[in-house]
Symmetry: C2
Subunit: 351 residues, 2 copies
């Protein structure tokens, strides 16, 4: 492994002492940056951008040039796996992701295969390798995947949804079929993250965007169970920290912390001091500023950063982040205010 | 007050002994019922349906004819107050509610008035009176309002939204203006619910659909604070139980329970046994089956009802409901299965 010039992020994930609280931002390479919009235009569309390693690498690095961030995250989409399975991912302007061939029947599920990352998702692995070269050890690179449950939601529904009623209908009416689907996806996610680590990712994160739609019983059986299998399968990469982020997962923090992951992502609806009291002796915590707060004045942003740092308190184990992805209307200058405030104001809590 | 023939719902709200767990369903008068769709067609559109007391009364009573429900809920929209304030509520097919004149500036806020319920919202009060007459004491009638925060979200945003970014932007950038707006809305909600009670409502419920978008700090300051003022203002109606339902509010159950309300509505993401352990000695609990589960087989529905009843356990203080409104694709026969299962299976937990 290349020696890291800035290993603050990795150290905090492993709950080792740091000089300042590390910070990165979900969707830090994104539409709020004019240079991102320019590269996306050059790519023609979002999916081309994901599938062209040079351009995906370019946008991954853009926020690192502007802000003093402590980690880079692979630029990609969470739906690359179902796309490689043949579901035909596409995006229409102003709409979320959609699939040409959603999964609806037993036959659809039986026909699914586990994509080979180095051939069918080669563009992702090439992006990781290129990024590893370009980053040159400046900051760690985060690889990621959608969680099995979240991928299943989109694959069955055929696109985004308020309640993923078609996906939940399959779960409630045909739980065994749903488990078969989740098993194939789990194997695919495991192979995908394993390959990202082999290609150079130094941390991996599971994005469970839709686990929060479930009851406790269903969350444990249909979402966390499969994420745990992924974490278990990645155990051989013992030096690679693993992060689980279930949006709206605050009811289940204790169970998530026991999954074998190193860190738990928090959305903004839970107090980070409460989260630390509940699971801070087992895992690091990542989060959790309200993404919309970045629209406020610089003073208000600094105040919120101070509140969250104080709520977490002294010692390591905190990675500052938003509680969800940054949104397109945020002024980039406000992001700089946040990042700098984290580094400046956090020093009193360390060393 | 008319003597109630079935007072199970009121008794459970006040945590008095009952023979069976009472049950009603959020949005029980709704599009899943063919007779509702027929009346709506007769009304021309949704807003006419709300504004015509005879038709609003008709659809309120429809589910009670089909199912053995323990309460009726006034058929209306949560956005009647802003409509009466002059914002111009309208609905377009397939879209959520929208306002012609959203609130964006200090001047917009200063110009708002508190609508007089008996003149400007007379159609609602007439519906309540008509319902009271038609119900003739068979089951209690629930009156309701959107919470001040939830109404503010729609009034500023101008319609539905994933994140209500315009509303949250006002909160973060101009908190004092937001408080002024919330104060006017709070006075309006209080007057509205007070008038509903005077007209015959025997329970009132605040629907805080969007409180769950907030951090703990902001939830307490911008949502719960104002709901508490409403509850406080309704104290003179000491025999009328008051319910607060914050969707995705499981982080704040203790604070909600201390607001002075008699019952707390739960969405399906929290275990009702955990909720009871946290606040069951202070308030009744209403909920919390996943609305999507009604798409499953009758056996699966019965199983889920049994699981929730067992999770709540012995004794009174539980009102069975869904964790959110019923959706249009649910077969009415499945609702009957749920309602009957609640009454049958709950008997072992009472008496």
């Amino acid at each position: 492994m290349t020696e890291l010039k800035n290993d603050r992020f990795i150290r905090a994930l492993l709950r080792q002492p740091v000089d300042k609280t590390p910070v990165w931002i979900m969707r830090q390479a994104g539409r709020y940056l004019p240079e991102y919009r320019a590269t996306r235009q050059k790519a023609g569309n979002f999916l081309n951008l994901c599938k062209t390693p040079e351009l995906a690498c370019e946008v991954t690095l853009q926020p690192l040039k502007r802000f003093d961030l402590d980690a880079a995250i692979l630029f990609s989409d969470i739906l690359t796996i179902p796309d490689a399975m043949g579901l035909g991912l596409f995006f229409t302007e102003g709409e979320g992701p959609q699939f040409k061939n959603p999964i609806r029947t037993e036959k659809d599920i039986k026909n699914l295969h586990v994509p080979d990352p180095e051939t069918e998702l080669k563009y992702v692995m090439d992006t990781v390798r290129l990024l590893k070269y370009e980053l040159d050890g400046s900051v760690p690179l985060i690889g990621f995947s959608g969680s099995p449950w979240t991928l299943a939601c989109y694959m069955i529904q055929g696109g985004g949804s308020k309640d993923f009623n078609i996906a939940k209908s399959l779960m409630f009416r045909e739980p065994k079929l749903m488990q078969q689907l989740l098993s194939v996806i789990t194997q695919s996610v495991l192979a995908y993250l394993d390959a990202q680590i082999e290609a150079g990712a130094q941390t991996v994160m599971l994005f469970d965007t839709w686990g929060g739609l479930l009851t406790t019983r269903d969350y444990l059986d249909f979402s966390l169970h499969y994420m745990q299998q992924v974490i278990e399968g990645l155990k051989k990469h013992s030096s690679i920290p693993k992060i689980i982020f279930t949006k709206l997962g605050s009811n289940w923090l204790e169970s998530i912390a026991q999954s074998g992951c190193d860190a738990v992502g928090l959305d903004w609806t839970i107090d980070i001091n409460q989260a630390r009291a509940r699971i801070g002796d087992q895992v690091a915590l990542q989060g959790n500023m309200d993404p919309q707060l970045l629209i406020a004045s610089p003073e208000r942003i600094q105040q919120e950063v101070a509140t969250i740092l104080k709520a977490y308190g002294h010692g390591t184990g905190h990675i500052f982040n938003l509680g969800h992805g940054i949104t397109p209307e945020i002024p980039p200058e406000h992001v700089a205010v946040m990042v700098n405030a984290v580094h400046e104001l956090s020093q009193e809590y360390h060393g």
